[in-house]
Every structure is written in structure tokens, then in C-alpha cells.
């Protein structure tokens, strides 16, 4: 257990420079987005009002006001979220391959640690997962601040409504995807994320074990698990059988657990018995 925690910490420290950069980019870009977004809107409004000689109220009736969704849909706001997502998806691969292909072959040391290979597998998975959640947590912390900044800079006449953080999150497509509106949905979404990560880890282990042939095995494995997990959906799509929503949910949950368990078992078995340094 101690070694597992030490390894998790070790993996996080290794990625810390890039990770802190991602956090800072998100923080700065989103706040800049709030400031620039409101400024653009207000300048535009002022120009239109002076050109068309409109009162503020008339402008709002003609053109509509502004609310936080306007900010949340901007590139300044969503760009860093996309960047972080891409970086962490990429890191799912990098977290393994950098040990083999880095300047130094750290995988020797890692696999010779007096700890089970499953621990190594879990520590890498945990590190990535924790970093994903860390970014989510940052978003949850800074959104109310951005919202407050926005509400205080926009004059009341132009404001459609003061939104709460949770309604901003449920209204915005990207935010509602990364921060679901209920805790159950949160567990399920990130559970599905863990499943996908375990499948990718297993595919990587196939490649590391059998090289070129392993890439094919890995792709086949991804295909098989996807087919297995989505089987009830396919059955329904083909019109062979209809599942009630709660039945479909139960099946997907059970299959998800099976697929995740299978992937973890197979991945760590390959890491233990088949991987070549």
C-alpha cells in the first residue's frame, strides 16, 4: 500500500510541470475570456447604440442581452478545457511509452521494484485519474469566481439573468459533460472513463508484449470490448429486442464492470508475464 501511494506520488511529480502549466493556462485563459468577452459585448453594444441612437433598454429588446453562457461558449473558456483533455488522453499513452523510449530506460527500474506489477499498473491509472479530477476541481473552484466577476462587470440592463454555477454547468454542453449535474451521473461518467482507460492500457500492454503483432491484438481487443460493452445497444438498434431504460442501464453497468475487470486483469497479466523490456 505504501509503495502504491509512493508510486502514485512519483508519477504525479513526473508530470507536474506540464500539469501545473495546464492549470495555469486554464486559470488565465478563462479569466481573460470573461474580461475580453464582456468588453467586446459592451463595446459592440455602445457602438450600435450610438449608431442607431438607441437607449440601453431598446438595444436589449432588439439585440438581446448577455448572460454567462455567452462567455462559456467562447474559445477562451473552452479552449483550455479541450487542451487539458487532449493532453491527458495523450498522457495515457505517454505514461507508459516514456518509460521505454525516454532518454533513459526507466522501465528497467520500474519493473524491478519489489512490488507487484499490478501496483505499477494501478499507480499509473490512479495518477492520470487524479490529475483529471484535479482539473475538474479547478473548474468547479474558479467558475463561481468567473461568474461573480462577470456579474459585477456587466451593467444590470444588459444582463439577461444572473446564473448559478450549477445552472451554467447544466446549460453548457462542454461543462455538463465534464461536470454532470448529479453525483450518480458523475460516478457513471468517470467510471466509464476508467473503463476506457483500462482498455487503452491493455492495448498498450499488447503492443509492448508483441510489438507489431501486438498493435493488431490491441486494436482487436479494443473492438471486442467495445462490442461486448455495447452489445445491448446493438441488439436494440437492430430491433431484435427492446430493453426498458433501467434494464439497459443495469446491463451496461454489469458489462462495464466486467470489461473493466477483464482489462485490468489482462493488462496486468501481460505486464507481469509477457512484457519485454
Amino acid at each position: 500500500m505504501m509503495r502504491y501511494l509512493k508510486l502514485v506520488n512519483f508519477e504525479i511529480n513526473r508530470f507536474s510541470k506540464i500539469y501545473i502549466s495546464l492549470l495555469l493556462i486554464t486559470l488565465v485563459s478563462q479569466f481573460v475570456g470573461v474580461i475580453i468577452g464582456t468588453k467586446n459585448f459592451l463595446n459592440g453594444a455602445r457602438d450600435t447604440m450610438s449608431e442607431e441612437r438607441l437607449s440601453e433598454a431598446a438595444f436589449v429588446t432588439n439585440n438581446g442581452g448577455i448572460d454567462f453562457t455567452y462567455i462559456a461558449n467562447s474559445l477562451w473558456f473552452q479552449g483550455p478545457i479541450a487542451l487539458s483533455a487532449v493532453a491527458l488522453i495523450f498522457y495515457i499513452f505517454l505514461i507508459w511509452y516514456r518509460d521505454w523510449f525516454g532518454k533513459n530506460t526507466f522501465i528497467y527500474r520500474l519493473l524491478m521494484l519489489p512490488t507487484s506489477r499490478l501496483t505499477i499498473y494501478f499507480s499509473k491509472a490512479t495518477a492520470i485519474f487524479l490529475m483529471v479530477l484535479g482539473l475538474i476541481a479547478l473548474q468547479i473552484i474558479i467558475l463561481p469566481m468567473e461568474n461573480a466577476l462577470f456579474n459585477s462587470t456587466v451593467p444590470e440592463v444588459f444582463l439577461n439573468m444572473e446564473m448559478s454555477s450549477s445552472s451554467i454547468m447544466s446549460v453548457n454542453v462542454v461543462l455538463s459533460f465534464i461536470i454532470p449535474s448529479t453525483f450518480t451521473q458523475f460516478l457513471l461518467s468517470y467510471g466509464a472513463g476508467l473503463m476506457v482507460m483500462s482498455i487503452l492500457f491493455t492495448a498498450i500492454m499488447f503492443e509492448r508484449s508483441f510489438r507489431i503483432k501486438g498493435i493488431i491484438f490491441g486494436l482487436v481487443y479494443c473492438g471486442i470490448t467495445a462490442a461486448l460493452f455495447l452489445a445491448p445497444v446493438f441488439v436494440m438498434g437492430l430491433g431484435n429486442f427492446y430493453f426498458y431504460p433501467n434494464e439497459l442501464f443495469g446491463l451496461l453497468l454489469a458489462l462495464g464492470i466486467i470489461v473493466t475487470g477483464l482489462s485490468i486483469w489482462l493488462g496486468s497479466w501481460l505486464l507481469k508475464n509477457r512484457v519485454t523490456v
Binding site: 511529480n13 438581446g64 453562457t69 484535479g134 468547479i140 444572473e162 445552472s167 450518480t184 451521473q185 426498458y244
Partner: protein, 410 residues
């Protein structure tokens, strides 16, 4: 310890912020405005069975909400489990609860028939082959309620090679034979288009299509147009003797709009027992128009029409077998032609909802909706009320539209 500072901070921040967020979400409201009906007249107990689907939207976002027993619930506020089962109409929900196994995959209320002894279902499964031909079969189900005995089978759709699309619009069980009324688009090679109304009689015991009767067949070529519609059936799955459909003919002008030819359009009725198809004659002197009939509500015996010609809304009952007007109720609500109306007939009452007002601005501001519940026999107003917005913050929501989409009564 210093080496672990990064991980410890991440771990703590994750648990604290995500934890607090979801605890807060679970324990407090979303901050979106709530709507309730303010009683203007009558007893607010009458509101209990009323379900209204609505939305709260502007150009940048859309939130659907349900109004039930004078409580607003946004879809986004529902728990995961509530969202999971989706929103179903009250009828289907009851049937699924009572006959879960039989109702599997049968979600079209028009395809269902229910009486005291039987629950029947008819649907057309169709598939286009690579050569572009349609292959279609009836999917038939029958449930004997007494012993929960299910029968289900598939039979080929007769003359399917000439059909392009089939829509099941009504199902009846008459003398142990299943009557399936469909609207079909007929395949044609040239510019001609053809629309038909068919009645298929299915022998449930022998699993055979006994008869394929064409009730109506209309051929036309562009710019002419023919449309077939049915008034809203307020008891879609109950035994009905009669079914109504309206035939609309018109022409698409080259550079003008579509224009209907009112003299060629008509309202037709089909009687399952007598097997007669007839044109419904709306009494001229009562000034009942075809338009009113089309947007009316039908229950197999009567057609209920909503009349906007007087100062107040009127609901007129037209008896289909005698083809006479049997009732005319004036509602205690003045006519506003800009507003969309919804009606429901249940529990001996008429429920009448006056929704949003369509003005030129696209109505992105809040305007109240009105609801009236009246005793259908006497016309006495049992309840009258209008929505009031309750925003946590006074500024909120005024500039955001509130739209009603439907009315249901439990």
C-alpha cells in the same frame, strides 16, 4: 513529507471541491426561476392531475421543465434515476406498469388498443433492401388480460411492393378481428404521388390478413398537394367506433406560398361497425370551419371544436353519428388569437391552457400562461389561474422566454 505535497494538495482539493459541489447541488435549488399558478378563481386542488411540459429558453440556452401538481421541475434538476426512464405520457406509463412484459418495445400509443379483456398492438416493421424496395411486415401482439396470455406474430404486409411508407394510425378490435388503419405513401415511378388510407383486417386466431381495404386513394402531381391528417385523439387506445381524418388539397404556387383549395378539402369519417366511409357535414349555420375541425379533439363519438370567433373561447361538441352540434360551452377566458391554446378532456372536465404569445420579437420575455379548468357538462369554471415567476433573484428570468409545449391530465 515535502515530496508528497503535490499529490496531497491535488487529493485534498479534488475531494473538497467535488464533494462540496455535489453536496451543494443535492441540497439546494439550481437558481433557475420557478413557475407556479396563482389561483384567480376556483379551487387549486383541481391542479393536481395537470402536467404541463414547457421550456425556459433564449438564443443561447434551452432548459426543459415539467410542471406537475403546481410544482416546477427542470430536467436538469432531476436525479439520474428520474432522467433514466425519460419522459413518458401518462397513458403509456400506466400500461407499462400493468403489463411490463407485453409493453416491451411498444411505445406508440396510436398502435395500441385496450378494452376490459384485451390489450392489442399493431405496428409495421419496414426495411429498405439495397435495391430500394421496401420489405414490410405487421408486428402484431395480443394480451388476454385475464390470464396474462400473450400472443405475438408477424405477417407480411399485403401488396407491399407498391408501398413506400406505412404509418399505423388506429387499431381496433371488432368481433375478434383486429382492424388496423394505416396511412400509406404509394410507390410510383413518374412524378405522380399517391396517398392512401388502408384498413387491414387481421384474423388473430389464424394469423392471417383477411382483407386489405382501401378507404381512400388520392393521386396528384406537383404543384398540387394532398395531405391527410387526423384530429387529436383524446382516447387513442380505447375502443372507438369511429375514426376521423381530414383530407386537404392545395396547390404550391411557383413563387408564392402554398394555397389550400377549401372546396376540395373535406373531413371524412369511417365507421368500424357499418364499414361506411362518409363525408362529415359540418352545419353551416353554426359557422364551424374545416380548420376548426382539424385542430379539434376526437374521442370516437364526438368531435370537440375550439371556437375563437366570439369574445370568449367556446368548446363545441359535435356528435359524429347524428352529425349535429350537441353542446356549446363558453369558457371564462377571452379569446387571444396570438396565443397558442392546448386542451385536454378528462374526468368530466375540460382543461384549457393558453400558452405563449407570439409577437414579432420572438417572445424572448416572460409572459404568463393561463389555465382554465371547467366542468364539461355545465361549463362552470372550477379553476382559473395564471403562472407567476418566482426567481431567487428579481432580475432573473424576465428576459428569458417561457414556452408551453403540451398539456396532459392524469
Amino acid at each position: 513529507m515535502k515530496r508528497y505535497i503535490c499529490s496531497i494538495i491535488i487529493g485534498m482539493v479534488v475531494i473538497l471541491s467535488i464533494g462540496t459541489y455535489y453536496v451543494k447541488v443535492a441540497s439546494s435549488a439550481s437558481g433557475l426561476p420557478k413557475y407556479t399558478f396563482k389561483t384567480l378563481e376556483g379551487n387549486d386542488k383541481e391542479l393536481d392531475p395537470v402536467i404541463i411540459n414547457a421550456s425556459f429558453e433564449n438564443s443561447s440556452f434551452y432548459q426543459s421543465l415539467t410542471f406537475e401538481s403546481n410544482q416546477t421541475t427542470y430536467d436538469s434538476e432531476k436525479s439520474y434515476w428520474e432522467k433514466l426512464s425519460g419522459r413518458q405520457d401518462y397513458q403509456s406509463e400506466r400500461l407499462i406498469k400493468e403489463h411490463r412484459s407485453f409493453m416491451r418495445g411498444k411505445d406508440s400509443i396510436d398502435s395500441l388498443y385496450e378494452d376490459d379483456d384485451f390489450l392489442a398492438y399493431a405496428w409495421v416493421n419496414s426495411e429498405f433492401t439495397k435495391s430500394g424496395k421496401m420489405e414490410a411486415e405487421f408486428d402484431i401482439g395480443l394480451l388476454e388480460k385475464k390470464d396474462e396470455e400473450e400472443t405475438s406474430f408477424q405477417i407480411e404486409l399485403p401488396n407491399q411492393e407498391r408501398i413506400m411508407n406505412t404509418y399505423v394510425r388506429d387499431v381496433q378490435l371488432v368481433h375478434s378481428k383486429l382492424q388496423v388503419l394505416t396511412m400509406n405513401d404509394v410507390n410510383s415511378n413518374d412524378d405522380k404521388q399517391m396517398k392512401e388510407v388502408h384498413l387491414y383486417t387481421i384474423d388473430l386466431a389464424n394469423k392471417k390478413v383477411l382483407r386489405d381495404k382501401t378507404l381512400l386513394s388520392e393521386t396528384f402531381t406537383y404543384p398540387n398537394q394532398v395531405d391527410l391528417e387526423m384530429p387529436i385523439d383524446i382516447a387513442p387506445s380505447q375502443p372507438n367506433n369511429m375514426v376521423l381524418f381530414s383530407l386537404m388539397k392545395g396547390v404550391n404556387h411557383e413563387d408564392g406560398p402554398y394555397e389550400e383549395k377549401p372546396n376540395e378539402s373535406k373531413l371524412l369519417s369511417y365507421h368500424y361497425e357499418t364499414e361506411k366511409i362518409e363525408t362529415v357535414k359540418l352545419p353551416k349555420k353554426e359557422s364551424l370551419s374545416l380548420d376548426m375541425a382539424r385542430s379539434g379533439y376526437v374521442d370516437g363519438k364526438n368531435l370537440y371544436l375550439i371556437d375563437l370567433k366570439s369574445d370568449n373561447y367556446h368548446i363545441k361538441t359535435f356528435d359524429l353519428s347524428s352529425q349535429t352540434l350537441t353542446n356549446d360551452q363558453e369558457l371564462g377566458l377571452p379569446v387571444n388569437k396570438k396565443k397558442q391554446h392546448f386542451a385536454a378532456f378528462k374526468n368530466g372536465r375540460v382543461y384549457f391552457l393558453l400558452g405563449n404569445e407570439f409577437d414579432q420579437e420572438g417572445s424572448l420575455t416572460y409572459k404568463p400562461a393561463q389555465l382554465l379548468i371547467a366542468d364539461f357538462k355545465t361549463g362552470k369554471t372550477l379553476y382559473k389561474g395564471e403562472t407567476v415567476m418566482q426567481a431567487t433573484n428579481k432580475k432573473n428570468g424576465k428576459k428569458i422566454g417561457f414556452f408551453t409545449h403540451g398539456l396532459e391530465v392524469k
